[in-house]
């Protein structure tokens, strides 16, 4: 159940509006309060009448909501009173209306009665009113609402704000800010970077090659592939219960619905019921053991997507619960529910226990971070077409090779009989590395069963309920340090919530990054991967790394708080120096984090702004400002990554070039960067280069796109491939120094020079991680102490990216990532029903 506190109602009820309601035979005037219980059958609202207010009326309305747009209120309120400003007394009885406290709006009638005739400048008027109101506000909560405590405090705070607004001229400046609504000022931004014109088009800021197509609406995503003859659609039927045994799937209602073609269950799978061809098997459709609410039980195939979606809801799934589901890390810890393999060995450097014991100060604490839905604007999508010799698969996927393997395995056919192609993906952020295979496999199954092309475009509800998301983390820690906050040793246990399956567990990466940018000589970090009854979580933009860094930053803050030190001082004092060795035994041969820190501290005027914030806080009881500076060190992990393949053709007829690489264009601009490198290396114009859709013919065994490494490695492959082409062309070039590119290419072809080349990018690095990217960010925030509303006043980010291949693209990535981070840390969270395990925050009305 969701409460939807109407903003219109609260305002109009407070001003005493009435509705004119007509039936075919009569018209009546009804107060908004009576309207709540009026039988509206065969009736229409004809008009609303708003009475005129007197000149001494003070009206205010308030809405506190999770985000500033498109969200219903936590609490909304509207207040009306007649205030005699010369005597400072209230004339008559005020009207105080609150929404979001109970199912319908309420009026604080006792508080209003108490205020009749009261002198608002007398201090005990306010305290008495607040006490009265406290008793009248009795919140009713739902699983997706805030706590009763917060809702009540909001209601009281809003009344207090109104009170101050009414007597504003008499209010102490220190509390005045409470009377003014928390305004979100205009956002602005600037972007600064360097370029190397001698290298152009490499390092040249330029827009994406296909931006033309994308702005004209002609860019084709997987669902946009034109419809095929006899095409049909499919939808998943989801389990309504976590941790259960499926006892039956009833298609009887479904079969009678318009458009129904077939219902498919696990029994219809010709090959393996497993879309993860490496790691733990994950079923396409469950038939017995069902781990989580939202796991797919069946597929409905229908003539259209709308019909399939509707019919899927009419399929009845019967089940036997196997016990209360485990949903959170706390649940898993209490039940001792862990995966045997946490993903890596504990980190042990020096002797952390001894170092802590010998330290002047000991700091303890815990910290956690939650999940996040990828929210790619294009949901999971696939189209599978049966062909004479196999299947053609279009998939919104980051990993064509494993999508191919999944479809082949599920159908029990050769990989070589399955072709996968993806031109571009409408956002992925890790959600389409492994999860996409599931949808492709389901379409493959349906295509096999019907002999027809099958398309599946998940609606957002299904996508959110069925597919795993960002892995939550929780850490406990003990730190030994000096009086000045220099870190001697850290002992920590890091838990994460993999969901029911740990195929995409990134706990190892979290531990690899737990030091972030700080030197600590002694470590003991123990990983524990929790098993729960929720969807198998997956890679999500900086999986493992971001939470690991967050844990370290939390530890630093705890040290600063406990010791009463400025967190900036603690951070700066512990920053890595060049050639120091990290806990995973890799030396930092390049390390400029201290320089970046100092540069940003200066350019962002941190010192003076901190002083200004402190002064602001002194002068404002109900608004507070704070600044935070955070360094980031991010390992570039090539070790798991390779290979990527880059294939380049020069067409002899006109000298134009086609490139096909093993990465996938997911919005990160990889195709543009690859083309820039080719243009530069071959010395040809950008517009003679086409980058082709990624597919399984080129790079049959390439790794997934991800890890922030794909663009640079495919560019490396492009560079090497073009160098090889240049080598082949050079004798012909030497013999024809005045030839144009077209003439050169034609001549090469005549002489039997092979103008098609492939480079297999296989970087053997000394370590799993090849180098680091460093950055520093400073954020200033203001919060309204009474409501919890916050405003980000200013963000400065200084990022060392080396020579950016395309600053436009890279700046766009940083800004987009930062904004996604705001959602991660500030608003996005998942809420589950405790008994069924169902995801309650499964669409944009409740997921913020």
């Amino acid at each position: 159940m969701i409460f939807f506190p109407s903003d219109v109602f609260v305002v109009m009820a407070a001003v005493g509006a009435t509705l004119s309601i007509a039936t075919s035979s009569s018209t009546q005037s009804v107060s908004l309060w009576d309207f709540l219980t009026l039988d509206m059958s065969k009736s229409v609202i004809v008009s609303m009448e708003i009475p005129f207010a007197s000149a001494d009326t003070v009206f205010r309305s308030y809405k506190i909501m999770p985000r500033s747009e498109n969200a219903h209120a936590y609490v909304n309120a509207a207040f009306v009173m007649q205030f005699n400003s010369s005597t400072s007394t209230v004339t008559g009885e005020p009207t105080l209306v609150f929404g979001g406290i109970q199912a319908h709006d309420i009026q604080a009638t006792q508080t209003a009665a108490m205020l009749e005739g009261a002198n608002l400048l007398q201090k005990d008027t306010l305290t008495t009113a607040l006490a009265k109101l406290e008793g009248e506000i009795v919140p009713v909560t739902t699983p997706v609402s805030s706590s009763a405590k917060y809702l009540k405090s909001l209601a009281i705070s809003l009344f207090y704000k109104y009170y101050l607004a009414v007597i504003y001229d008499h209010v102490d400046p220190r509390v005045q800010s409470a009377a003014v609504p928390f305004q979100r000022p205009l956002s602005t931004g600037t972007q600064t970077y360097g370029t190397k014109p001698s290298e152009y088009p490499v390092t040249e800021p330029m827009t994406k090659l296909t931006a033309l197509l994308q702005t004209s609406g002609e860019a084709e995503y997987t669902t946009d592939v034109p419809p095929l003859p006899h095409e049909c659609a499919a939808a998943f039927v989801l389990s309504p219960q976590a941790n259960c045994k499926i006892t039956g799937v009833d298609f009887s209602t479904a079969e009678g619905m318009p458009g129904f073609i077939k219902g498919l269950t696990a029994a219809d799978i010709p090959g393996d019921n497993n879309f993860m061809t490496m790691g733990t098997a994950e079923p396409v459709l469950v038939s017995d053991v069902c781990e989580y609410a939202g796991q797919a039980v069946a597929i409905v195939v229908a003539e259209t997507q709308r019909q399939a979606d509707e019919i899927a809801l009419a399929v009845k799934v019967s089940y036997e619960s196997q016990g209360k589901p485990l949903l959170t890390i706390a649940d898993a810890i209490a039940a001792g529910s862990y995966f045997e393999d946490p993903g890596r060995q504990p980190i042990e450097v020096g002797d952390a226990k001894a170092a802590i014991a010998k330290s002047a100060r000991t700091v303890e604490g815990t910290i956690s971070c939650d999940s996040q839905y990828h929210f790619h604007m294009e949901t999971q999508t696939s189209l599978v077409i049966p062909e004479a010799e196999g299947y053609m698969v279009y998939s919104s996927t980051q990993w064509t090779q494993r999508t191919q393997a999944a479809v082949a395995a599920v159908l029990g056919i050769n990989n070589s009989s399955v072709d996968v192609s993806v031109r571009r993906v409408g956002g992925a952020y890790g959600g389409k590395i492994t999860r996409s295979h599931w949808i492709a496999a389901a379409c493959g199954l349906a295509a096999h069963a019907t002999g027809r092309p099958v398309r599946m475009h998940l609606d957002i509800d299904t996508n959110m309920k069925m597919i795993g998301k960002r892995i939550p983390y929780y850490a406990t820690f003990t730190i030994g340090c000096t009086e000045d906050g220099i870190l001697n040793g850290i002992e920590a246990t890091v838990y994460n919530n993999c969901g029911w399956c740990n195929n995409d567990n990134a706990l190892g990466m979290a531990l690899d990054h737990i030091d972030n940018a700080y030197y600590v000589p002694n470590w003991l970090v123990t990983p524990k991967a929790c098993k729960t009854n929720i969807a198998a979580n997956t890679a999500t933009r900086s999986p493992g790394t971001c939470p690991g860094i967050f844990i370290m930053e939390g530890m630093i803050d705890q040290v600063a708080r406990t010791l009463g030190l400025d967190p900036d001082t603690v951070r700066r004092a512990n920053l890595y120096k060049k050639d120091q060795v990290t806990p995973i035994d890799i030396p930092l041969t390049y390390c400029n984090i201290s320089t970046l820190w100092d540069d940003l501290y200066s350019s962002a005027e941190v010192e003076s702004r901190k002083a200004a914030a402190a002064k602001f806080n002194e002068e404002n009881r109900w608004r507070k400002r704070g600044l935070s500076v955070v360094p980031v060190r991010f390992w570039m992990e090539w070790g798991w990554a390779v290979p990527y393949t880059v294939h380049i053709n020069i067409y002899a007829a006109d000298g134009t070039v086609a490139i096909c690489h093993g990465g996938v264009e997911v919005g990160q601009g990889i195709n543009t960067k690859v083309a820039q490198v080719a243009a530069k290396t071959l010395g040809i114009p950008l517009d003679t280069i086409s980058v082709k859709p990624s597919n399984t013919l080129i790079g049959p065994n390439d790794i997934t796109t991800g890890g922030s490494i794909t663009s640079e490695l495919c560019c490396l492959g492009t560079l090497r491939a073009c160098n090889e082409l240049n080598e082949r062309i050079s004798p012909v070039r030497a013999a024809n120094p005045k030839a144009t590119w077209k003439e050169l290419v034609a001549a090469c072809n005549d002489q039997g020079v092979n103008l098609s080349v492939e480079n297999f990018v296989e970087e053997k690095t000394d370590y799993q991680y090849s180098y680091n990217a460093y950055g520093v960010g400073c954020t200033e925030v203001e919060i309204d102490v009474l409501t919890g509303e916050l405003q980000i006043l200013r963000v400065d980010i200084l990022y060392d990216c080396g020579d950016s291949i395309n600053p436009d693209i890279d700046v766009g990535q940083v800004e987009g990532a930062f904004t996604m981070g705001l959602g991660y840390w500030l608003t996005e969270k998942l809420i589950f029903d405790q008994d069924s395990g169902q995801l309650l925050t499964h669409n944009t009305w409740v997921y913020h």
Binding site: E69, N70, L186, S187, T188, G189, Q191, P205, T207, K208, T210, A211, L212, L213, Q214, T215, S216, G217, E218, A219, E220, Y221, T223, D224, P226, P227, P258, R306, F375, H376, M377, E378, T379, R424, V425, G426, G427, A428, Y429, H457, D459, I460, D461, V666, G667, Q668, G669, D808, I809, V811, G812, E815, G816, A817, F818, T819, M820, N843, T844, W845
Partner: protein, 157 residues
């Protein structure tokens, strides 16, 4: 299945068809008119990927019934240019890197088109308010605002 006849003009071409009364306009555009530039993003009328203009007013086509559009003239992203040159908004989004994955872009541009029709010289605040019905996960929105500003300048606002 009950079907109702409609005549809807999309990008200057009239489509006469019989549709279910409950069919959403976005599906009419994508299927009956075979114009896939308009996207389905969120099913909850929040994200704006489905934005088109209907008789010059922007609407979320996922929350408009096809039958409501009967007799109307719809413009989708594909119809924005004159067929020869890009519309200044399209050019501006391109030049200002106002897109990454591009999925939200058609809806973003269509919403901006009505914003600029009503208010040819919007302040940055007005641009941000005018686009409050459109979500973008990739860009962080900075460059989108710059793109609309740029387009407004080009269009002589």
């Amino acid at each position: 299945i009950v079907k109702v006849p409609v005549d809807i003009t999309v990008n200057g071409r009239t489509y006469s068809d019989e549709v279910e009364p409950r069919q959403l306009l976005v599906h009419f555009i994508r299927e009956n008119a075979a114009l896939t530039g308009t996207k389905v993003g969120c099913d909850t009328s929040q994200c704006g990927s489905c934005t088109v203009t209907m008789d010059r007013v922007s609407v979320k086509s996922c929350t408009t019934l096809t039958v409501q559009a009967n007799g109307s003239s719809i413009t989708t992203i594909e119809g924005l240019s004159d067929g020869v040159d890009l519309h200044p908004l399209q050019e501006a989004f391109w030049n200002n890197h106002g897109l990454q994955c591009g999925f939200c872009t058609p809806g973003m541009i269509m919403a901006a088109s009505e914003l600029l029709r009503i208010n040819p010289d919007p302040s940055r605040e007005e641009i941000r308010e005018g686009l409050e019905g459109n979500l973008c996960r990739c860009t962080g929105n900075q460059n989108i605002v710059l793109a609309v500003e740029d387009a407004a300048r080009t269009m002589g606002g």
